[in-house]
Amino acid sequence: MTQAQLEIQLLAMATAVACSLCGVFLVLRRMSLLSDAISHTVLIGIVIAFFLTGDMTSPWLLVGATTAGVFTVLLVEGLQKTGVVREDAAIGLVFPALFSIAVLLISIYSKNVHLDMDAVLVGKIALTPLPSRRLEFGGYDFGPKSLALMIAIIIVNIGFIILFFKELKVSTFDPAFSKAIGFNPYWIHLGLVLSVSTTAVASFDAVGSILVVALMAAPAATAYLFTDKLSIMLVWSCIIGMLCAVLGYWLAHFLDASIAGSMATVAGILFGLTFFFAPERGLFSVWQRAKIRDRKFKLALLLVHLTHHEGTIRELEECNIESLHLHLRWDEYETRSVAFEAVESFCASQENKVLKLTPKGRIIALESLQIGTNLS
């Protein structure tokens, strides 16, 4: 691994961590789509700042872009507050309009300036190790500029989260309560919007606008499927983000394809795997649990059925293995397998094709009935 590769991976990881930290709160507060809106509208901030300064590398571009991001959110919220447009529609109105203005401005006024659309979408992470993009101070080389910027953003984000952890928590999970105890959640909301905008703008330069959305939503949502604790979710989200960065980089390396695109792809694959196979909330374990519960319930029901007819005249008929499925109205095959399970677990025994309760089975049946009466 060369130093250039190492630096690209470090930048990718730093970007992923910065985005994942914000992303956790976006996902929990159902604001994920604001990152989509912001990542589109930063373009207008960049364009306007560029027209004012005439310099593509000016730091004012970052300021302009961040302002545009915050402005977008305020505009969406303003529209929502009028009560005539819902949030989703407000987002869908605002960002295409601002984005279109930016595109028109570019196409009308800057024909001779190369504001490369591909670079905006894909980012320039592969150019990170170039000599012109390094931070040099007093003759020492401190690595790529964008890496330094990203680390600064991570520090600010972590600082914000640690400083306002309690406030973020209460305003995220119970905004009404936070208002009731005399703390206005709106300030935290604004702080979050500012931090998302800054992070989006800084990451946008490195990995492009679409990956910002992927890195904010996917690792956080993946972590959300793992845990119920906010602090653990933050840690998981960062780890998954870094995993996306490293795996994505090598995928891109082997395919000779876009790093940003590969990182998004890996993020999607990780989310998909978690969605299906997560230990507790994965689709398969949920289905499996449902199946086990179903089976347990059926076994109890069978035992209750047996107690009901125990010692009666109809016992031979009702508890006969051959006709059991008709009385329970279950599938024949399934009934067999439940009956077999009852025998296997010593809850019942089979005598001349008739199921008889064992003492253990009787206890279980009575217990199940007891639970039933307690519930009702």
């Binding site: 989509d36 529609a89 109105l93 295409p96 979408l121 499927l225 394809a257 990182m263």
Partner: protein, 374 residues
């Protein structure tokens, strides 16, 4: 970036964008009402990998091949969004954001991979994003119509189902309508429309065309059928206006963004000035109501004062009324208005008492509230 490859007649461009605008407006109505405005945005981004895979597989840039690929990946994305929000604790907004960005990122990866192959012609990303309305040919318009007409017929056939699912999901469910199937059908229609328009207007415009006309139309009516048609008309109109405006000058202005800005202008005007739901209208109504309310409260104050000090025919002064009013500065105007209406009379200089007509007026106003004035 936006130069057109050929300069066809404006006619097919106008016809194409108008048709697309109408289709998007009509179907966008359902998306907006179901709070799925951004579904279109997500699906249109998610078409990218399908486009590129189709290009790789068929090795052609024929419209139908690309459309087929886009339709398949759009459908998968739509199902992913529905599935994630239905089967996990991840909410719909995150499901949309993840699907959008991951599919698009995957497409980007494929695109860059394809472009490195020496034999592949570059499939432009800019074109996918902004479309090329200026290169619409008659053939494309026919293809568009071939998609639009079945879509509109489907909407017509399932009108009642869509209406029910839009406004009262649980009721639809309790009546035994296949709600999930209707959800899927609507999403499929959305995919069809997006695929049809993607080549022409691009991703960003697609999301705008699905949301904006419907929001504008919502301002003018409370009826679904009128809203759908009106949204279609707004969409078609901005399509025409955008196509014409962007072709007026000698310089090539991209059509897509002009259409977006035009439809945004319509939305802006509708939100401000539409009767009954417009902001200006609501403010005016608020102002008018508060004046009537003030009038009633001044009259009621006068009446109460006159009752408490009964027997004597003494009036009460403006200063007194101001003292007990919640909005003292408005009192003189209300008193003058009451005098004009004959509900109050001036017994002495600056002293007012309510007339019998005034008492009647107030009684009538309060009687239907269930608490007549004592």
């Amino acid at each position: 970036m936006f130069e057109s490859l050929s300069v066809p007649g404006l006619g097919s461009v106008v016809a194409g964008t108008a048709l697309l605008g109408f289709l998007c407006g009509t179907l966008g109505t359902f998306a907006v009402l179901r709070k799925q405005s951004l579904m279109g945005d997500a699906i249109s981004h998610a078409c990218l990998p399908g486009l590129i895979l189709a290009f790789l597989l068929f090795n052609s840039k024929e419209s139908w091949a690309l459309m087929l690929g886009a339709a398949i990946s759009g459908t998968i994305a739509a199902m992913a969004i529905l599935g994630i929000s239905r089967f996990s604790r991840v909410k719909e907004d995150s499901a949309l954001a993840i699907t959008l960005s991951v599919f698009f990122g995957f497409g980007l990866m494929l695109l860059t991979w394809v472009q490195r192959r020496p034999d592949a012609a570059q499939a432009g990303l800019a074109r996918f994003l902004f479309g090329q309305a200026a290169t619409l040919l008659d053939r494309d318009v026919w293809l568009l119509a071939a998609i639009a007409i079945p879509c509109l017929i489907t909407v017509f056939i399932f009108w009642k189902h869509f209406q029910l699912v839009c406004f009262d999901r649980s009721f639809a469910q309790s009546l035994g309508f296949p709600v999930f199937f209707i959800d899927v059908l609507l999403s499929l229609l959305l995919v069809m429309v997006i695929v049809a328009g993607l080549e022409t207007v691009g991703v960003v415009l697609m999301s705008a065309l699905l949301v904006a006309p419907a929001v504008a139309a919502r301002q003018w009516t409370n009826k679904l059928e009128i809203m759908a048609i009106l949204a279609g008309i707004f969409g078609a109109f901005s399509g025409i206006a955008g196509a014409v405006l962007s072709n007026i000058g000698k310089t090539s202005i991209p059509t897509g963004p002009v259409i977006v800005l035009f439809i945004t202008l319509i939305v802006f005007l509708s939100i401000l000035f539409a009767p009954a739901r417009g902001i200006v209208w609501l403010q005016f109504k608020h102002w008018r109501d508060s004046k009537v309310l003030q009038l009633d409260s001044v009259l009621s104050n006068l009446l109460n004062l006159a009752r408490e000090h009964s027997g004597k025919q003494n009036g009460h002064s403006m200063a007194m009324l101001k003292g007990i009013s919640s909005n003292p500065s408005g009192v003189p105007r209300s008193v003058h208005k009451l005098l004009e209406m004959g509900l109050v009379s001036e017994v002495d200089k600056g002293l007012y008492i309510p007339t019998s007509k005034g008492a009647e007026y107030l009684n009538e106003k309060t009687s239907h509230m269930g608490a007549p004035l004592k």
